[in-house]
C-alpha cells in the first residue's frame, strides 16, 4: 500500500496546488492571496478562527465555489470552470461545515450510507464490504437503523465521515469536522480518520478552529483574516517562534499579573496558576526573566515547558500586531460582592424528561469570587443544570440556592441577581452595540443615571469603544462575545453563568475574554459558572466538575484532577517515531492498550515511568521502528476528560454485557 510510505517517498506528488487565491463576497475580501500545496498521503490542516477564510478556500478546492483571482489545481486539473470542477469531483469527498448538514435527518444510518454510495455508483459488493468495515470502525453498527436525527453530535460527524469516504476518494476535504463535538468523540474521529487515510492511501485537507488539534496534522497553514500567517509542519511552525512556557503559583496574583504584563505579552491566569510565554527557548534564562519581572514576589511550583502550538499562534498574531482589539483600557474594578458566602449551592438536583433522567443527583458549591467549570460531552446534562439554577427549568428533585435565593421559590429574585450568556450568541444582531446594551439595561430596570454609568463601564471593560453604533452583525466574533458578556453584566450581578461562551472565537479573543473573567472573579468577587468544550480553557477554572450521563463523576481543581488520573493510569509519554502507524501496532502489542496516534506522534500512559518507558522503547526498536524522541508530557485536561469518560463507557458496556 503506497499510503503508508507516502510521507517519506512521495513529496513531489502534489494533489492540490493553490496560488494567489482570492475570494470576495461583494466588498468583503474573505481570502486574500493564499498559496498552499497538499501532497499525496498527508493530512493537511487549515487552522484559524471563524471568518478567517477556511471554508471559502475549501469549497473552491472542492469545486463548489467560484473565486476571483489566482489558480486552484486539483489532481493536476485547473479548476476554473464548471466542466473542470465536474472532472475532479468523482475523486473528491467533501464534508461541509455543520453537524450532519450533508446528511438526511429522516433516513437511518444505513439508508444515508446507501444513498451516498449509490450516488457515487459504488458497486454493491464494495458497498457491503466497506459499510461493514466502516460501521465497525466507528462503532455505529448497533445503531444502523436509527434515524440520523436521533444521533448525538459525535455520531453524526462519524456518519458524515463514512458518507464522505464511502466511494474511497483520493482527496477528502473536511470542513471543521470536530467543531461542537465533545473531546472523546473528537479523539475517536481523529483516530478513525488517521487509520483510514493511512490504509487507503487517501489525502485529506481538514480545517479546525481548535488550536490544540494543530499537532495532529502532517503540515498546516494558519489563517487569519484571509491570509496565511504561517505554514509548515507543526515542528517547523514551533521553531519559528522560539520560546518557553513558564507555569507557577504566586500571591497576590493580581499584582503579579500587573508586573508580568510589563515584560511579557502573553500572561494568562489558570486558576491559582500563572502561565507566561517567554521569548527564549533556554529554560534557565526563562526562569530568570520571570524572577526578574516578579521582583519581590516569589513563584512556587514553577515549571518550564516547550510551548504548545496555540502559544506559538498567539505569539505570531501579536507579532503581526494586526490585533487592535486588545483594549489598553483595563476593566475598572467594580464594586466588590464580598468574598464570603456561597454563590451557588446545588444539592441533589434531579431533572427528568419523561422517563429520561437528564440530571441525576448533582451537588456542588461555588463560592463568591470562584470560577467553576462544568465539563461534559453534549447531552451530559450541563445545560439542564444551568437552566435549573437560572430558574427557567423546574427541578424534579433536589434543592438549590443561587445568590442567596431559593431556586424553587424565588426564581424571580434569582433572575435579577444573575447574568447569563447562552451557548449560541444571543444578542440582537440587527441592533447596534449601544441599542443592545440599553435594551438589557432597560430590562433590568436601571434608571437613567445607573444606565449611563454601566454603559460606560461596559464599553471600557469589553473594549468596545469605536463600535458603539456598529450593527452587532458586523462585529468580529471576539467582540460580539465581549458585548454579550457586557450585556450579561449590565446590572452588576453577583453570579455569572456562561454556557460555552467562546466557540468560534480566535485564540487572542479567547484569552482576552478569559482575562476579563479572571478580573471579575478576582477583583469584583463575582462567582462564575462556565461550561466549555475547549479543555484548554478549563485550565482557567479554580474548580471543575466532570459530568457524564447526568451525574458528576469527578471533581476538584485542575491540578487535583490531573493528579488523580496520574495516580490511576500513570504518566503520559509522547513518542516521535519513524513509522507512526507501525509504531502504534507494536506499542499496543507490547501492552500499551491506550496508545493513540496524535498527528505524527504517539501518546501512551506509563504506570512506572522508568520501567515502562524502556519497555516501550524496546518494543519499538526491537521491531525495527526508529524512535526519534520519547519523553514525558504534562497531562492536559483533555487527557483527563478522555480518560475518565472512556473508563465510564467501558464500565457501562461491561454492565450491559453482564
Amino acid at each position: 500500500m503506497e499510503g503508508k510510505e507516502a510521507l517519506q517517498t512521495q513529496h513531489s506528488d502534489t494533489i492540490v496546488r493553490v496560488s494567489g487565491f482570492v475570494k470576495r463576497y461583494k466588498k468583503d475580501v474573505a481570502v486574500d492571496g493564499v498559496d498552499l500545496e497538499v501532497r499525496r498521503g498527508e493530512i493537511y490542516g487549515l487552522i484559524g478562527p471563524d471568518g478567517s477564510g477556511k471554508s471559502s478556500l475549501m469549497k473552491a478546492i472542492a469545486g463548489v465555489l467560484t473565486y476571483d483571482a489566482g489558480a486552484v489545481d486539483v489532481f493536476g486539473t485547473r479548476v476554473d470552470s464548471e466542466r473542470a470542477a465536474e472532472r475532479i469531483k468523482p475523486n473528491i469527498g467533501f464534508l461541509p461545515q455543520g453537524l450532519g448538514l450533508n446528511l438526511y435527518p429522516e433516513l437511518s444510518i444505513e439508508e444515508n450510507i446507501d444513498f451516498f454510495a449509490q450516488l457515487r455508483l459504488v458497486s454493491d459488493r464494495d458497498l457491503a464490504e466497506r459499510k461493514t468495515r466502516l460501521l465497525a470502525m466507528t462503532r455505529l453498527e448497533r445503531f444502523r437503523d436509527r434515524p440520523m436525527k436521533n444521533l448525538s453530535g459525535g455520531m453524526k460527524q462519524k456518519l458524515g465521515l463514512i458518507c464522505t469516504l464511502i466511494h474511497e476518494p483520493d482527496l477528502a476535504i473536511l470542513d471543521e469536522p470536530t467543531t461542537g463535538v465533545d473531546p472523546v468523540s473528537r479523539r475517536d474521529f481523529w483516530s478513525i480518520l488517521t487509520e483510514l487515510l493511512q490504509e487507503k492511501g487517501m489525502t485529506a485537507l481538514v480545517s479546525t478552529a481548535y488550536m490544540d488539534e494543530a499537532a495532529r496534522f502532517h503540515r498546516l497553514s494558519f489563517l487569519s483574516r484571509g491570509k496565511v500567517l504561517v505554514s509548515g509542519t507543526p515542528m517547523e511552525v514551533q521553531t519559528l517562534v522560539p520560546g518557553s512556557v513558564v507555569t507557577f503559583e504566586t500571591t497576590p496574583q493580581v499584582q503579579a499579573i500587573a508586573r508580568l504584563k510589563q515584560s511579557f505579552k502573553q500572561v494568562e491566569s489558570l486558576g491559582p496558576l500563572l502561565h507566561v510565554f517567554t521569548p527564549t527557548a533556554d529554560q534557565s534564562e526563562a526562569r530568570l526573566q520571570i524572577n526578574t519581572a516578579l521582583g519581590d514576589l516569589v513563584p512556587t511550583a514553577l515549571r518550564v515547558d516547550e510551548p504548545e502550538l496555540e502559544d506559538v499562534f498567539v505569539a505570531l498574531l501579536l507579532q503581526k500586531a494586526e490585533h487592535k482589539e486588545t483594549s489598553d483600557a483595563q476593566p475598572t474594578a467594580e464594586a466588590g460582592h464580598g468574598r464570603d458566602g456561597l454563590a451557588i449551592e446545588a444539592e441533589g438536583l434531579i431533572r427528568d424528561f419523561g422517563s429520561f433522567r437528564a440530571v441525576d443527583r448533582v451537588s456542588f458549591q461555588v463560592k463568591q469570587g470562584e470560577i467553576f467549570g462544568l465539563l461534559g460531552a453534549n447531552g451530559a446534562g450541563k445545560t439542564t443544570v444551568i437552566k435549573m439554577l437560572n430558574g427557567i427549568l423546574l427541578p424534579t428533585g433536589g434543592a438549590g440556592r443561587v445568590a442567596g435565593a431559593d431556586m424553587r421559590t424565588a426564581a424571580g429574585s434569582i433572575k435579577e441577581r444573575i447574568g447569563y450568556m447562552s451557548q449560541a450568541f444571543s444578542l440582537y444582531l440587527d441592533l447596534t452595540v449601544e441599542e443592545n446594551i440599553r435594551l438589557f439595561a432597560g430590562i433590568y430596570g436601571l434608571d437613567k443615571r445607573a444606565m449611563s454609568e454601566r454603559y460606560r463601564w461596559i464599553i471600557t471593560m469589553a473594549g468596545l469603544s469605536g463600535y458603539e453604533s456598529s450593527l452587532t452583525s458586523r462585529l468580529p466574533m471576539g467582540v460580539r462575545q465581549r458585548l454579550a458578556l457586557g450585556c450579561a453584566l449590565v446590572h452588576n450581578p453577583r453570579v455569572l453563568f456562561l454556557d460555552e461562551p467562546t466557540s468560534g472565537v480566535d485564540p487572542i479573543g479567547r484569552r482576552h475574554f478569559w482575562e476579563i473573567l479572571s478580573r471579575l472573579a478576582r477583583e469584583a468577587g463575582v462567582a462564575i459558572l462556565i461550561t466549555t468544550h475547549y479543555m484548554s480553557e478549563a485550565e482557567h477554572c479554580d474548580n471543575l466538575a466532570l459530568m457524564y450521563a447526568g451525574r458528576i463523576v469527578a471533581e476538584g481543581s485542575p491540578v487535583d484532577m490531573k493528579r488523580q488520573v496520574e495516580h490511576e493510569a500513570g504518566r503520559l509519554f509522547e513518542v516521535v517515531a519513524e513509522h507512526p502507524a507501525k509504531a502504534l501496532v507494536h506499542l499496543r502489542q507490547a501492552g500499551f492498550h491506550r496508545a493513540a496516534l496524535f498527528g505524527t506522534k504517539l501518546h501512551f500512559f506509563c504506570r512506572d515511568p522508568v520501567r515502562d518507558r524502556d519497555c516501550a522503547r524496546h518494543a519499538l526498536e526491537g521491531s525495527g521502528v526508529r524512535v526519534i524522541s520519547l519523553h514525558e508530557r504534562p497531562l492536559s485536561l483533555e487527557d483527563v476528560f478522555v480518560y475518565r469518560v472512556m473508563a465510564l463507557e467501558q464500565a457501562a458496556k461491561q454492565e450491559a454485557a453482564a
Binding site: E334, A335, I392, L427, D430, L439, G442, A450
Partner: protein
C-alpha cells in the same frame, strides 16, 4: 463608580406597588421599542409592507371584478333577418363584446373549446317568419362555464335580454292588434340601492384587500418575530432576565399593532379616499379601534403558531394553513350566506368574520357601536382566548 448603591437601585423592588408597576411598564416599553427598531432595520420587509398597503390595494381595487363585463360573444345567425339583427343588437357592452359571426355552429363550439369565446348565440333559420307567424321560437345559447360565476352571470344576463326582447315583441303585437291602450297585468321591480349607490365594485374590493393584508401581517409579523428569537436563541437570554413571557409576547403585539395601524391609515389616506372615493361614513376612529382589537386577536393566533413551530419557514406554512381558509371563507371572497351550514358554523370561530361585519358597517353603512357591539364583543372574546392559549404554550415550552 457603580457601587453597592447601584445594586440597591437595581434591586429596589421591595418598595411600593407603584414601583413594581412602573418597572413592569418600563420593561414593556423597552421591549416594544426593541421590536420597532428591529422592524425598522428590515428594509425588504418594510418595502413589502408599504407595497401591500398602497399599490397592492390599488391593484386589487381596480383589477378584481366579479361583475360580468366584456364577455366575448359569437353569433351564428341562421336567419339574417330584421328580428335576428335586433336581438343581436341587444347584447350590449359593457357586459358583452360582439366578437363576430360564424357560418357554422361547429366553428363556434370549437372556439368555446379553445377558450377564445365565452358565449355562442345560435339563431335558427325562419326566426323572423316564426315571430311574424306568432309561433313560439327558440334561440340557443351555449355558455362556457369553466369560470362558474362568470358563466352563470353571462347566462342569466343573456336570458334577461332574450326575455326582454320577447316581452317587447308581445307588447308591440298586442298594441298593434287593439288600437286602444289595454292595461296589462305586470309586476315591475324597482331597485333602491343602499350604501353603494353607484354599485361601484372598487369600494368593496379595495376594502377587502386591506382586510386581507391586515390579517396576513397581524399573523406573520409577531409570529416571525417570536420564532426568530427562538431560532437565534435570544429568547433564552430574555427568559433568564426579569422579563416575563407575557411581556415578551405583549411587546411584539404592541409593536406590530402600531405598525399595522399606521399602514392601514396610510392605505385609507392614500388609496381608499383619494383614488376610489370610498366614503367613510362611520367613525374612522371606531374603525381603527376595532382594527387594534382585531390585530391583537390575530396576533394571538400567530404567537400560538410561533410556539408550535421551530423556524420561520414553518410559521409561513402554518400561516397558509390557517389564514388561507379564513380569507376565503369568512365572507370577503364569497358571500358568507352561500356557504354550506357546517362551514358557516366553523367560521363562527374566525375573527375575520366579525371584523368584516364591523368594517363594512362602519365604513360603508355608517353604523356605530349600537349595532356592532355583539360582533366586537365576540371578537374580543376570541382574541382573549387565542392570546391566552399562545401565552400558555409559550410558558409550557420552556418549563
Amino acid at each position: 463608580m457603580p457601587g453597592p448603591e447601584l445594586e440597591e437601585r437595581v434591586n429596589r423592588k421591595d418598595g411600593s406597588s407603584f414601583e413594581v408597576v412602573r418597572l413592569w411598564a418600563l420593561r414593556l416599553v423597552v421591549m416594544t421599542r426593541k421590536e420597532l427598531l428591529q422592524l425598522g432595520r428590515d428594509v425588504p420587509l418594510l418595502l413589502f409592507l408599504l407595497y401591500s398597503f398602497s399599490l397592492s390595494v390599488y391593484i386589487s381595487g381596480a383589477g378584481i371584478a366579479m361583475q360580468l363585463s366584456n364577455a366575448s360573444l359569437l353569433v351564428h345567425d341562421g336567419d339574417h333577418s330584421e328580428s335576428s339583427r335586433e336581438l343581436i343588437h341587444r347584447f350590449r357592452e359593457p357586459y358583452f363584446r360582439f366578437d363576430g359571426d360564424v357560418s357554422d355552429p361547429k366553428e363556434g363550439l370549437a372556439r368555446l373549446d379553445r377558450g377564445t369565446a365565452m358565449v355562442l348565440l345560435d339563431i335558427p333559420p325562419r326566426f323572423h317568419e316564426s315571430i311574424l307567424g306568432r309561433e313560439p321560437v327558440t334561440v340557443q345559447l351555449q355558455v362556457d362555464t369553466t369560470n362558474a360565476p362568470q358563466g352563470l352571470s353571462a347566462a342569466a344576463y343573456a336570458a334577461r335580454i332574450v326575455g326582454g326582447f320577447s316581452f317587447d315583441l308581445a307588447l308591440s303585437r298586442l298594441g298593434a292588434a287593439s288600437n286602444n291602450q289595454m292595461p296589462m297585468p305586470m309586476v315591475e321591480s324597482a331597485h333602491r340601492v343602499w350604501f353603494n349607490q353607484d354599485q361601484d365594485e372598487t369600494w368593496f374590493q379595495s376594502i377587502s384587500h386591506i382586510l386581507r393584508m391586515i390579517t396576513l401581517f397581524a399573523f406573520l409579523l409577531p409570529a416571525a418575530a417570536l420564532v426568530r428569537e427562538k431560532e437565534h436563541g435570544t429568547v433564552e437570554q430574555l427568559l433568564v432576565s426579569p422579563v416575563t413571557p407575557l411581556q415578551i409576547m405583549l411587546s411584539k403585539v404592541l409593536a406590530m399593532t402600531l405598525v399595522i395601524l399606521a399602514a392601514t391609515t396610510l392605505a385609507m389616506v392614500t388609496v381608499l379616499k383619494p383614488v376610489f372615493g370610498v366614503p367613510i361614513k362611520g367613525s374612522a376612529s371606531l374603525f381603527l379601534l376595532v382594527t387594534v382589537l382585531y390585530t391583537f386577536t390575530i396576533a394571538g393566533l400567530g404567537l400560538f403558531a410561533a410556539t408550535v413551530t421551530k423556524n420561520q419557514a414553518q410559521v409561513g406554512m402554518i400561516a397558509l394553513l390557517v389564514i388561507a381558509p379564513m380569507l376565503l371563507l369568512s365572507g370577503i371572497t364569497t358571500p358568507f350566506e352561500a356557504m354550506p351550514p357546517w362551514v358557516q358554523s366553523l367560521m363562527a370561530l374566525s375573527p375575520l368574520r366579525y371584523y368584516i361585519d364591523v368594517t363594512y358597517g362602519v365604513l360603508l353603512k355608517g353604523v356605530g357601536l349600537e349595532l356592532l357591539w355583539d360582533s366586537i364583543l365576540t371578537m374580543a372574546l376570541l382574541g382573549g382566548v387565542l392570546f391566552g392559549l399562545g401565552l400558555w404554550r409559550f410558558r409550557r415550552q420552556f418549563a
